[in-house]
Symmetry: C2
Subunit: 384 residues, 2 copies
């Protein structure tokens, strides 16, 4: 990718994001929906100007979601997340098991082989922390009980989702189930967050001393962002997910004095990079594979409609995991609807491993796209 | 490049930049020198951890230098630049012609063919606006007459340098001189800045209206940065250089009310991205090709020593282009010493076109590296 191509892509992405965002806000919808729709227009479904798989654009999008999660971590009070703990865990559990069960069952009913059906089910289990967090933040719900449960469940869900992804990848490669590997990967993913929150806490004072010792412009920002990148790297490296590491870094730094300074400085970076991520997610969806006027697309369309229904029902069931009275179960269910990036990665892995033919691949992508597009306006409607 | 590789590269780059920068500041040197040295250590000359040619790192470095130039533009008062105009033009003229003449002559004396010799000379004519601007800004010299002359001359120099690069590229491809092309490219490069400063001024009020109309978080920043990317794209597209476009965008927005707000928000982005550029420049230099204990490297070493001398003399002569009494001629000469990225691009083009064998290529790279490393401490010493 030459510099002119990169600049053109960024101009296109940022313009689509801000135009779409402003339009949706005029209509009383969350800005993130506008960014996703902007992505549809400039991406594969529309003009095809943006290739979200181009290496530099993809890299910027990945950094964007890391910065977003770091920022969300900075705004999340650990005590409140812990208070929502048991309920969040229950919501996450139902939110993973229900879509997997329903999605796998539906796929088997449509005649898919067992391993492919399991992959479709697993793809439905994902929750996009990025999109959930963005919507919650836009609606001012991050600090409520309902918000904490959604975010807590989304994080647990993502840990489980990424473990599942690793397991599915190995299953697809081996064509068999190795329960030892399954257990090991799952334990490592969950262990990582626990370890980081315990051991990482000891490193924060060291980090503060480094900042005080080094001098010059931008030292605080660069040191703390490097710390976030380091935890993201370690998370990714040891079988968890990079975004969980970035989020953990934010959580750890939330308790420091420098927090407000960092928040002010990270904001412009997030403003510039996160639209790259959301436009990319939108740009990766190709709606033309589901053209209702093309008879050859009808079987795929039928499967997609059922899959979307199952995807919605599965996550709405998750809301019932919040058994106490002060949480809104419908908001929780809808708040976890958006599959976003993790769902897309599942579909990609399935296609690469030969588990999904183009039709079923398109169906999974479309389901991810539709639930992701549906969540923001639905949540906006019920969370006034 | 996977996400783990990208994160590891960024952790390494940002750590090297801040450690090097802090160390140099302790020693009373500019931080940018520390970032270049940090690049030497983690790059080709040292541990080889960083490959500055990796697509995503390269893209981030290029965006970094654009953001830096945009920021410099925001801090540059056009009236003062115009006031330094004639002297800056004269400095730039000598600063281009003297190194070309001396470099080409020296290369011919060392037995290089005519076209290769001309390429070496042209590589010496470059001035790194990025590094010059950074040093001037660190020393608080941006607002002085001397600073304006250096910056003005560096900009003119870069326009001429990029034109020369285009010309050399065509010459290398064709193996012949086409004066019509030469004239056209030169005219377009100079014409671009003039056009932007005249026509671009009309677009700034439109931009301000767009910002007022759109709503939501980060609209001001994203709109103005997109504008900078747009001018950078147009500059690159129409035969000028992207960094000139970004600089022009900054100059145009310097006159707006929103200037201070933008400056505050662009700072964290520059803090994070510009070290990627400076560490990359350092990482691209491989000092081992000039090992004095390896006899096979002696001819290259001899040529390099002469080339460095010629490169220094050529730019010091440029200082005499400032004929009025209130400018410091030595500071001007030293301020234009750093060749930086443009010199490296020249060397790359020469190698790709087969005009430079590995030895002469290493010599040009080393000369660019040495002058670039020499400029900051020298300037720090004389500009107290």
């Amino acid at each position: 990718m030459t510099l002119t191509q990169l600049l053109l892509a960024l101009i296109c992405i940022l313009t689509a994001a801000k135009m779409g965002g402003a339009l949706m806000q005029r209509l009383g919808q969350p800005a993130v929906l506008g960014e996703l729709l902007g992505g549809l227009i400039v991406g594969a479904s529309g003009f095809g100007w943006i290739d979200p798989h181009a290496e530099v654009v993809h890299g910027l999008a990945e950094l964007g979601v890391l910065v977003l999660l770091f920022e969300v971590g900075l705004e999340t009070k650990l005590q409140e997340l812990a208070a929502a703990g048991t309920q969040a865990a229950m919501v996450a559990l139902i939110g993973v098991l229900a879509p997997i069960g329903l999605g796998t069952g539906l796929s088997l009913a449509f005649g898919l082989p067992w391993l492919s059906a399991l992959l479709v089910g697993a793809a439905l289990s994902a929750t996009s922390i990025g999109i959930s967090a963005r919507i919650l933040s836009e609606r001012g719900l991050l600090a409520t009980v309902t918000g904490s449960i959604i975010l807590g469940a989304a994080i647990i869900d993502d840990v489980v989702g990424v473990s599942l992804l690793g397991i599915m990848k190995r299953l697809a490669e081996a064509g068999t189930t190795d329960w030892l590997t399954v257990g090991r990967i799952t334990a490592m993913s969950i262990g990582f967050i626990v370890l980081v929150m315990v051991v990482g806490r000891l490193f924060v004072p060291v980090l503060q001393r480094v900042v005080a010792m080094l001098r010059g412009r931008g030292v605080l920002l660069v040191t703390f962002v490097t710390f976030a990148f380091l935890l993201a790297y370690l998370a990714e490296r040891f079988g968890s997910a990079a975004l969980i590491g970035a989020f953990a870094a934010g959580l750890l730094l939330e308790e420091t004095e420098e927090r407000h300074q960092i928040e002010t400085q990270i904001k412009p970076i997030a403003d510039l990079l996160t639209p790259v991520f959301f436009v990319s997610v939108g740009a990766a969806v190709d709606l033309r594979l589901l053209n209702p006027f093309d008879p050859s697309a009808w079987p795929t369309l039928m499967f997609t409609v059922c899959l979307v229904a199952v995807a919605i029902v599965g996550k709405l069931l998750a809301g019932f995991g919040a058994w106490k009275g002060d949480a809104n179960r419908l908001i929780i269910g809808v708040g976890m609807l958006a599959r976003g990036e993790v769902g897309l990665i599942f579909a990609g892995v399935g296609a690469t491993a030969g588990l999904l033919d183009p039709g079923h691949y398109a169906a999974v992508i479309a389901t991810v796209g539709i639930t992701t597009l549906l969540a923001p306006p639905w949540l906006a409607r019920i969370a006034r």
